[in-house]
């Protein structure tokens, strides 16, 4: 089945904002601007985090994109949005309006996740505990490879 990935359990899918392949991170639910600000003071943690916005509004997490989180998951919204526009610029794995399956109603903090954003749909997986030491099938940029067109380089800024 297309939803199976060795070492991972499929939990649902939504709209993928930009096709950036597979990315892993640890889930953190961010529900308020204050929580977002707290996370912004820890740039290293952001890079390892898949930010989950449980609420209906998603735009408030857009500033986090500047610090390159591992990914973002929302339960509302579409790629044609402020979050989508900024996410496309940074080439971040974003799955919007995630529809959780298999009886799940939320993603607890600390859950190891994989976001598969190959096409228009983004699939979300939980890393199986039994395969915690398996090689990571991620598609982050390899040293020496050019970044995709329209995507900002890692840590780069654009001079006006």
């Amino acid at each position: 089945m297309a939803d199976q990935l060795e070492g991972y359990k499929y939990i649902g899918q939504g709209y993928s904002v930009v096709p950036v392949g597979k990315h892993e991170g640890v889930a953190m639910n961010v529900t308020t601007p204050q929580e977002m600000i707290k996370l912004m003071s820890n740039p290293q943690k952001i890079k390892e985090t898949v930010v989950v916005t449980p609420g209906g509004t998603t735009t408030f997490v857009a500033p986090l994109l500047y610090k390159k989180p591992a990914g973002i998951i929302t339960y509302a919204g579409t790629p044609e949005s402020h979050l989508g526009i900024v996410g496309r610029n940074f080439g971040i794995a974003i799955v919007m309006t995630l529809n959780l399956e298999g009886g799940m109603s939320s993603i607890p903090d600390g859950t190891p996740l994989l976001l598969d954003c190959e096409g228009k749909l983004g699939r979300v997986y939980i890393k199986s505990e039994d395969d915690a030491d398996s090689p990571l099938p991620i598609d982050g940029p390899v040293v020496g490879e050019a970044t995709p067109a329209g995507v900002l380089p890692e840590g780069g800024s654009v001079l006006g």
Binding site: I85, V86, G160
Partner: protein
């Protein structure tokens, strides 16, 4: 309560969440040395965190900004005129987001870019109707016009690249500002 200049600077940081003192000076229309002096006064009470290259607004700083909005704009925010004006903004806002998304996904198509610029020009006119009630909104007109000129000169990064003062960045901040002024929540 914050005085007007302190509000301009702290509000600029509130809208961006994280920025350099130089960025804040440009947004607020003030000199960089003025802004740096003000910022050191924001750090001491814990309103702003100095992260080295950038400043990060803190929850207490957000509270100060929100209080200023409430005290300064509560009467204006309840007028029918403002409610009608905001309705017109929402229409243009929906169009702008679509046009920028289309521009991105078309790889920078010229006609898509013209539609983006057309929407920004409409917003600039709309903001012009409010400058008498909210004089600081003149700064948004200045920034939009500067970025439109830069795009017209061939620098497409100023359409929506997040790391420069692009049209999309300015629009995003303006919308946040407007929501705070009106006491509204975002619906997206």
């Amino acid at each position: 309560m914050l005085d007007e200049q302190a509000f301009l600077v702290l509000n600029a940081l509130y809208l961006k969440k994280m920025a350099s003192a130089g960025d804040l000076a440009d947004i607020a229309g003030l000199r960089a040395d003025e802004v740096r002096a003000m910022v050191s006064g924001f750090i001491e009470p814990g309103w702003v965190l100095d992260m080295g290259e950038d400043l990060l607004i803190q929850p207490d700083g957000m509270t100060e900004v929100q209080a200023y909005y409430r005290q300064t704009y509560s009467a204006l925010s309840q007028t029918e005129e403002m409610e009608r004006w905001y309705g017109r903004f929402e229409t243009i806002n929906t169009q702008f987001i679509k046009h920028v998304s289309d521009w991105q996904q078309s790889g920078g198509d010229t006609r898509a870019q013209e539609r983006v610029i057309g929407t920004v020009e409409r917003l600039v006119k709309l903001i012009g109707e409010m400058v008498q009630q909210v004089p600081r909104y003149d700064n948004y007109i200045r920034r939009f016009e500067r970025s439109m000129t830069t795009v017209d000169q061939g620098n497409a990064d100023f359409v929506c690249t997040p790391t420069v003062d692009s049209l999309h960045n300015i629009w995003f901040e303006f919308h946040e500002d407007l929501l705070l002024l009106l006491g509204k929540e975002r619906t997206e």
